[in-house]
Amino acid sequence: MEFLLEVFTEEMPPSHVKAALSQLEEKFEEELLSKNIDAKKVEIHGTCRRLIIFGDLAPKQKDRKEEIIGPPKAVAFQDDGTPAPAAKGFAKSQGVNVNELEVIKTDKGEYLGVKKIEKGKPTQNILSEILPALISSLSFPKMMRWGSSSFRFSRPIKNILCLFNEKHLSFSVGGITAGNSTYGHKLHCPKKIKVKTFREYKATLKKMRVVVNQEERRRMILSQVERKLASLKAECYPDEDLLERLSFDVEYPYVFLGSFPEDYLNLPIEILSTAMREGQRLFSVVKDKKQLPLFLGVADGYRDVKSLIQKGNERVLKARLEDAKFFWTQDQKSGLKDRAKNLGKIVFQEKLGSYEDKTQRLKKIVAYLADKVDAQKTKKQVVQGAELSKVDLLTEMVREFPSLQGKVGGLYAREEGYPAPAWKAVYEHYEPVSLEDESPSSLTGSILSIADKLDSIVGAVGVGVLVTGSKDPFGLRRNAQGICKVVLDKKFNFSFSRLLDKVIDVYGAKIREPENQVKKYCLEFFANRLRYIYESQGYRYDLVNAAISAGIENIYHSLLRVKALDSLKESPNFEPLILIFKRVNNILRDQPLFRINSGLFVEKDERELYTTFCIVRDNVLPLIKKGDFSQAQKIIFRIKSSINNFFDNVLVMANEMRIRRNRLALLQAINRLLIQVADYSQVVIEGQNASK
């Protein structure tokens, strides 16, 4: 039977709508499951003013069968076959007649018991019960109250429509009583309408200029964009975030094309497109990768009869571009170096001082890092980049368009004639802003990006900011992921732990927490970020654990470890070896460290294992150093037959202590070698629980 819920509100931000829709879907399906209501279909739709669930649900809950076990059959009857007091008492406690008790067979034998069938309640009753709690439980990035109520939601709820089997369900939430009506488009058709079915609801609302499905609105935008641009042979500059935002922002999309005076094309494209995107949410139009003096906007409506919408937007955009042009020339009246003198006036972080302080740290960190990643040739330029990196925070342009930070500084540096490695470092140093974003294209940008982010992380941790659960006020996770991404994309080979030491050292007395704890926390924090990255790339979680437990001294090597494990996981040798390695690991648990004395090997198989181990070790260590874990692993696997023979024919726990210790020492040496490739004890073998 058809179920329809529409929560109708004042305009919610797109991020709120998205959050609410995914929560609604998840929670509603959970509720149905726990209430034993079958659903043939559950669909979620939404606009900035509506959260909608449509479903095809069973008319009632499934009946629940329940068996209640009473006394064993053996004691339930007296010798004469009449029920014993135990049976009578049980029947009474269950509210049934004693002769209604049945024999129930269990693993432990036969018992008396009752089989009860709890009849399912009508779905509509259950829905009226669960929906108020479901709606109130939605959580949004920021919640508000309104009127005289203490109810909290994204924006005020205006109306609730709720139908089941064409009849409306009655319940109240947030001071609103559910009914069978809703409203059309706010400006074009604000009338109240009554509906009975989802089909009717969708069709009537469409006539009233509301398209309830987000995908459909998105398609409408795209097809209108195509139509507008067809004759121009131009393209809309792709902006997935903006498209998604707009498809939630409007209830009925109308795409309009507008233009701006050509002389603004002298502004860099970064600034033009930002001026269009932010504020008015306009798309740039490009032809052969060149910006045209045109834009596309999406209005909430279905027409622009007098072109008022287009002209209005053109006027506003022109004013914004005029501002941008003013800033562009004004900002360049004083050089970056000159402007840098004011960096001391802006706070980086209250306890960590100003951007001047940060700049000085960055210069030292990039100089150090440039040496470590073979960038000595551009060391001078990356230090120059670091010096200029934060200056654009003092420009009018960044004050107007904060999202252009970095880019603006880079562009000004380019205009001032700084060499490409220097201005690109500035331009790219905030990249990547997410795992989906690109890493900086330049080597200098990559170095500055890592330095900038690590400086922020170490500083925050150093003054006691901890990231827990949903709490990450300084965006440390995003920063750490950014660093990992750059290191992995650029295949940077350097000691991460020493870089941490360097950053901590550069901070000096500003770090208030004990230095070793800051470092420990950072290493653990990065290990978790790497786990997240590798797992979201599809690597098996246990292989990821095995790779990361071997340490993240070298971040890039941790990826090579994961890849090596992944490439060998299908090999027939893999599982048997893992089992042997786990066995080694188990034997060694809680043992103190011993030293090998090769003279004490008495059995043939232990001597042979020792010899094999020495050969393997000498071959493997250089490979580990190089990061060739795949090859290292292949060679390590050659130890298999020797170690098998050892376990088959040699008693590790020999009675004579000297011999026992020597054998343990050999296993310890093997283990030490293994752990440099991966922590095999973390690998989970099917049919065997992870030994953790």
């Binding site: 504020g279 209005g312 506003v316």
Partner: protein, 282 residues
């Protein structure tokens, strides 16, 4: 429609909605929100409906009269209704219709924009209202003021009168606007913008302002101790304006900025707390 007609229209409209028409407050403020008709009246539990024009000063926005849409003083039309009525969005749209705007021919959008003023410990949730891409109103459900959770929740509508008028007259330059049929914005404001920009950016006496800030801050605290909350609040407004002037003179260091904002906020929070205690027990 001239600016004065726009004002008269809004006055009529909101008076018909039951608002009391206040007169502009006689101290320099950064926004209509800061005047006592808003700040104090949102704190208590009593219903409240008020509408007024408030000249608002933002010294750093001065452009010597050279910029067609940026000025160091502009006019806000401020409406406060407590508790927020359920149909306030429709009423607001009607107010635009009453100005002769055919909303069905335009794109009217409520675009997420939350508002916050750290120095008076206030924040709210709402939108900037965009008319064909032009921001004409800030629409806010007040959640906190003076660090206190507001209940009932007031709604605040702040129309930018110049913006709205530029839309109505279809003009691109603020100075071309008509204040009345024969007095232009240029006639009234150009010299003022030029001279005040010079004052704000170059002439305001830094030492004098710092001293004034200190004196008023001290006096505010003394007045709070004597439960003279309205005069104490005036002192805070003065501090806030001195701070803005110092800011436009580029005379505030990092640490000073944090400290001065905290000083004002501390005073304002005390006032808000004492005021609510007094009103709730009255």
């Amino acid at each position: 429609m001239s600016i004065q007609n726009l004002i008269m229209n809004l006055q009529k409209f909101w008076a018909d909605q039951g608002c009391y028409l206040a007169q502009p407050y006689d101290l320099e403020v950064g926004a209509g929100t800061m005047t006592p008709d808003t700040f104090f009246r949102v704190l208590d539990k009593k219903p409240w409906k008020v509408a007024y024009v408030q000249p608002s000063r933002r010294p750093t926005d001065g452009r010597y009269g050279d910029n067609p849409h940026r000025v160091q003083k502009h006019f806000q039309y401020q409406v406060i209704i407590k508790p927020s009525p359920p149909d306030i969005q429709q009423v607001y749209i009607k107010s635009l219709v009453s100005l002769g705007i055919n909303v069905q021919e335009h794109d009217l959008r409520f675009d997420e924009d939350d508002w916050e003023s750290p120095s008076i410990g206030a924040w709210g949730v709402g939108w900037q209202v965009l008319l064909d891409g032009l921001e004409i109103t800030q629409f806010t459900y007040f959640q906190q003021a003076g660090g206190i959770d507001l209940s009932p929740v007031p709604v605040e509508l702040t129309y930018g009168l110049e913006r709205l008028e530029m839309f109505l007259e279809g003009k691109d330059d603020i100075y071309d606007l008509d204040w009345s049929h024969d007095v232009s914005y240029q006639d009234l404001r150009y010299v003022e913008e030029k001279e005040f920009s010079e004052y704000n950016f170059s002439q305001a006496d830094i030492r004098g302002l710092k001293e004034s800030f200190r004196l008023n801050e001290r006096e505010a605290q003394q007045l709070i101790n004597k439960d003279l909350l309205l005069p104490a609040y005036d002192m805070c407004l003065k501090c806030s304006h001195f701070f803005n002037l110092l800011d436009s003179r580029g005379a505030i260091s990092v640490t000073e900025r944090v400290k001065m904002i905290a000083q004002i906020r501390t005073l304002v929070s005390q006032i808000a707390q004492k005021y609510t205690a007094r009103e709730d027990s009255a």
